[in-house]
């Protein structure tokens, strides 16, 4: 009994910490409709700056009051200079930009405070324990719960009792009109953003004595916080509060009693909520968000582009002969991820569905090759065929549930399903090797040539890359591809002129899944090894970033993005220990100076073919 109460208390503590994050996210993401992946960084910065202030002054309370100030200032600068120009550009650019910032902040924390786990001591006045009825409790934890509830009440008074929430939503719906009614929307947004950052920073400081401080704590709190507001309901403070406590308690109990399936249960819960109530438990079903600013008309190939493509292909054929083993291998990896990125682009850029779970299908393909080889001694090429089919089947099944929704619910559903796949890969150790991974039993040969030779590997991946590229180009220019683009542009109209749009979206999702499975299978053949990391959501995040970096909605963009991303990661990291910052800044610059991705910007330079 006492243990149960103690667990409940721990759950409440974690729930309150989540609430500090979720409340801010609810303002920024739920109300302002800005995807801020750097929100966890503000939490982390608050914690670390609080740590330093504590060590300088010796006072926890001073840290609690002072630490949020510089964090809020950073947040406001970010909003004013970087995010503001992106409000009208839709979620994709926001994801890329704020993702870049998370790299920069991560590197900053790592450089200043090191990589070891730090802890902030409990304030002296709250080090005692308290006896209440059922047992002995830490005073600090009780204080934390009380503090969280007090902040929640304050927020409720501020938001639900004033017109502030309605004003922000009005600004999101139609900023121009709101201005015409006398609202200074830019100032309002800066204020609300700063306030959200304040909440995160406060949460970070009070979390100090409970959670360890380490670079990486940002994502560890960000994802559960996103889950909270999606389950609770976007933009609903009540949802953020109830959701935080629910997830906090469920997570704590799950970890204590159901180690193996805890992860599973949270994501399953999210799937069920999203399928039954896409707007979340307390969310209101609003009008559909305005379509994203992705505005690209269909561009058929011309003799000039065909000539350029041929020259590029010849260059790719000639290239490896002048290179050493390592760069050849790196480019082969780029080809594989280019295939993966192009497959994502089919749903992201061409059909208009943002998925954060595409690594699941990459993983299905990869594990099919590895597991079928290990268990049944199946040749890797046959395994590859099986992998493509299994990935397609998986995508068909998962897609069946996901394509009912769109926008953010779609993003979260794909995330949840892929995390289920991840849990299986992680926990089914006998077969998959879990996080330790498993090797490929036997490397196949490629038309009699050994793939252990880097040149053979290079050309093998090049062949697949070119085949997928040409296949997708055909598809995009064919009636089916145009139908996908039509759905991206205006799904309701597509339905009205006779397209069963849900079936088409499922088809796109399945094709994309199959191609991702191909990439996964190739990756195992290339790498000789696969572990559960390849299916973790960050892998889905990376491929999303590559696609958007290069330019979603174009065919050449994703390969360019994959190349840029992997080159930066592999090359820059060997020259500078601040490679994370360099990549982060590169993302930020890309968003600011190349709207629509690298290739999107290049395309804009060319005279558009279809202007009146």
């Amino acid at each position: 009994m006492e243990l149960l109460v103690a667990q409940l208390l721990n759950g409440l503590v974690y729930g309150v910490l989540l609430f500090f994050m979720a409340a801010g996210l609810s303002l920024i993401f739920g109300l302002m409709n800005v995807v801020n992946l750097a929100h966890g960084s503000f939490f982390m910065l608050g914690a670390f700056i609080g740590f330093s202030i504590f060590h300088l002054t010796g006072s926890f309370w001073l840290a609690l009051v002072l630490a949020p100030i510089p964090v809020v200032m950073i947040g406001i600068v970010m909003e004013l200079w970087f995010l503001r120009p992106l409000y009208a550009r839709g979620h994709m650019d926001q994801v890329l930009l704020t993702f870049g910032f998370t790299f920069v902040f991560y590197d900053l924390v790592q450089t200043v405070w090191g990589k070891v786990v730090l802890t902030l001591p409990t304030p002296a006045s709250l080090q005692s324990t308290v006896h209440i009825g059922l047992g002995v409790f830490s005073a600090y934890r009780l204080f934390l719960i009380g503090f969280g509830f007090a902040v929640a009440l304050l927020l409720w008074l501020l938001l639900e009792r004033s017109r502030l929430g309605a004003m922000v939503r009005a600004g999101v719906d139609n900023a121009g009109m709101a201005a015409g009614l006398g609202a200074n929307i830019p100032a309002l947004f800066t204020g609300v953003f700063g306030f959200g950052v304040l909440l995160a920073a406060l949460g970070g400081v009070v979390a100090g004595p409970v959670l360890g401080l380490y670079p990486g704590m940002d994502t560890d709190i960000l994802i559960p916080a996103f889950i909270v507001i999606v389950i609770g309901g976007m933009g609903s403070l009540r949802g953020a509060f109830v959701g935080s406590l629910l997830i906090g308690i469920a997570d704590t109990f799950g970890k204590a009693y159901l180690q193996n399936v805890a992860l599973f249960l949270i994501y399953l819960a999210m799937i069920i909520v999203l399928l039954i109530r896409p707007q979340g438990l307390f969310g209101i079903k609003y009008a559909d968000a305005p379509p994203s600013a992705l505005a690209r008309t269909i561009m058929p190939s011309t003799p000039r582009t065909r000539a350029l493509a041929l020259i590029a292909l010849l260059a790719l054929i000639a290239l490896p002969f002048g290179l050493a083993d390592y760069p050849r291998a790196l480019i082969a990896e780029i080809f594989i991820f280019a295939i993966f990125a192009m497959s994502l682009d089919l749903i992201l850029g061409f059909t208009g569905l943002m998925s954060l779970g595409h690594a699941a299908f990459f993983g299905l393909g990869a594990y099919s090759v590895a597991v079928l080889g290990a268990q049944f001694g199946l040749n890797a090429w046959l395994g590859l065929v099986a992998g493509v089919l299994i990935a397609a089947a998986g995508a068909g099944l998962i897609g069946f549930f996901c394509v009912r929704s769109g926008g953010i619910p779609f993003l979260m559903l794909t995330l949840a399903f892929s995390q289920l796949v991840f849990s299986v890969a992680l926990k089914w150790r006998d077969v998959t090797g879990g996080s330790d991974g498993m090797p490929l039993a036997m490397q196949p040969s490629f038309f009699g040539f050994s793939l252990s030779h880097s040149l053979v590997m290079y050309f093998m991946t090049l062949v697949f890359f070119v085949a997928v590229y040409l296949g997708l180009r055909r598809l995009i220019n064919a009636p089916l591809g145009h139908a996908f683009i039509g759905i991206r542009e205006n799904e309701a109209r597509m339905a009205a002129i006779g397209y069963p749009t849900r079936a088409y979206k499922l088809l796109a999702f399945t094709i994309a899944g199959a191609i991702a499975g191909l990439a996964g299978g190739l990756y195992v053949i290339y790498n000789g090894f696969i572990s559960s990391d390849a299916v973790y959501w960050t892998a889905s995040g990376d491929i999303l970033i590559m696609t958007m970096l290069g330019g979603a909605g174009t065919l050449i963009g994703p390969p360019i993005g994959a190349a840029a991303f992997l080159l930066m990661k592999n090359v820059v990291s060997s020259y500078s220990e601040h490679w994370l910052s360099i990549i982060g800044v590169a993302f930020i610059c890309c968003v600011l100076f190349f709207p629509g991705g690298i290739w999107g910007a290049v395309q804009k330079l060319q005279p558009a073919g279809a202007k009146p």
Binding site: M167, R169, D173, G176, M177, G180, L181, I185, Y286, A287
Partner: protein, 231 residues
């Protein structure tokens, strides 16, 4: 109350308004007429501050408002009903009305008064903006502008999509507002509405004003009606 003098306005690179001059006094309804693309909406947007005039001056209550942003213009007492209505789809009817109404308590227009004016809206009070019918959105847009207690009202085709009966009511409302001393600048395609309420008409063509006169004058100038309004 409002005066434009030789205003030139650009949309991106294209020159839309060429030397527009007009004035609206207290208790007066001035109507802009003309074909699509003649520059009527651009004139309204320029007054509101969405576009800044490159040349000429815009004065409102003796103040030069030529460079002010829209929110500042609105706060000086200008109500705006845009052509596309600008309803906030995720706010309820009630929220749409009150969200930016700064002096809802002190001013003449209260929720009750606008609901009396448009009884259809009261029944839909809790519905979200995107659930409204086309005509209801139009009524809401007008009601919302009134909630700001403006002294100058800019209306861009208020009768569009409304049933004849409601159009008549709107004509009555505009007359009533004029009687209370409000200044109104109206863009209208519906000639009958224009003739019924306006004290003065400006017919625009290719960004210039090509005719100015009262209702009777307009009705009698066959050539203007035929060549610029195709009636």
């Amino acid at each position: 109350m409002l005066s434009l003098e030789n205003v030139d306005s650009y949309y991106g690179g294209s020159h839309i308004l060429h030397g527009i001059s007009l004035a609206v006094r207290e208790g007066e309804v001035v109507c802009l007429l003309g074909r699509n693309g003649a520059g009527k909406t651009t004139t309204i947007l320029t007054v509101m501050g969405y576009l800044h005039p490159r040349r000429g001056t815009i004065r409102f209550k003796e103040r030069d408002i030529g460079g002010l942003p829209p929110y500042a213009v609105a706060r000086l007492g200008v109500g705006f009903v845009p052509q596309e209505r600008g309803i906030f789809p995720s706010l309820s009817v009630r929220e749409n009305l009150t969200v930016f109404a700064r002096n809802a308590r002190s001013g003449y227009w209260t929720l009750q008064r606008v609901f009396d004016l448009f009884p259809g809206l009261q029944a839909r009070e809790r519905n979200l903006g995107f659930q409204l019918s086309g005509g209801e959105q139009q009524m809401l847009s007008i009601a919302r502008a009134l909630m700001l207690d403006p002294v100058l009202l800019l209306l861009d085709e208020p009768s569009e999509g409304l049933a004849p009966m409601i159009v008549k009511e709107i004509v009555d409302v505009l007359k009533h507002l004029r009687g209370k001393g409000m200044a109104i600048l109206l863009v209208e395609q519906n000639l009958r509405v224009a003739l019924a309420v306006a004290d003065r008409h400006h017919v625009m063509n290719k960004g210039e004003i090509c005719f100015t006169g009262g209702s009777e004058e307009l009705e009698n100038s066959e050539s203007v009606l035929r060549s610029y309004l195709s009636v």
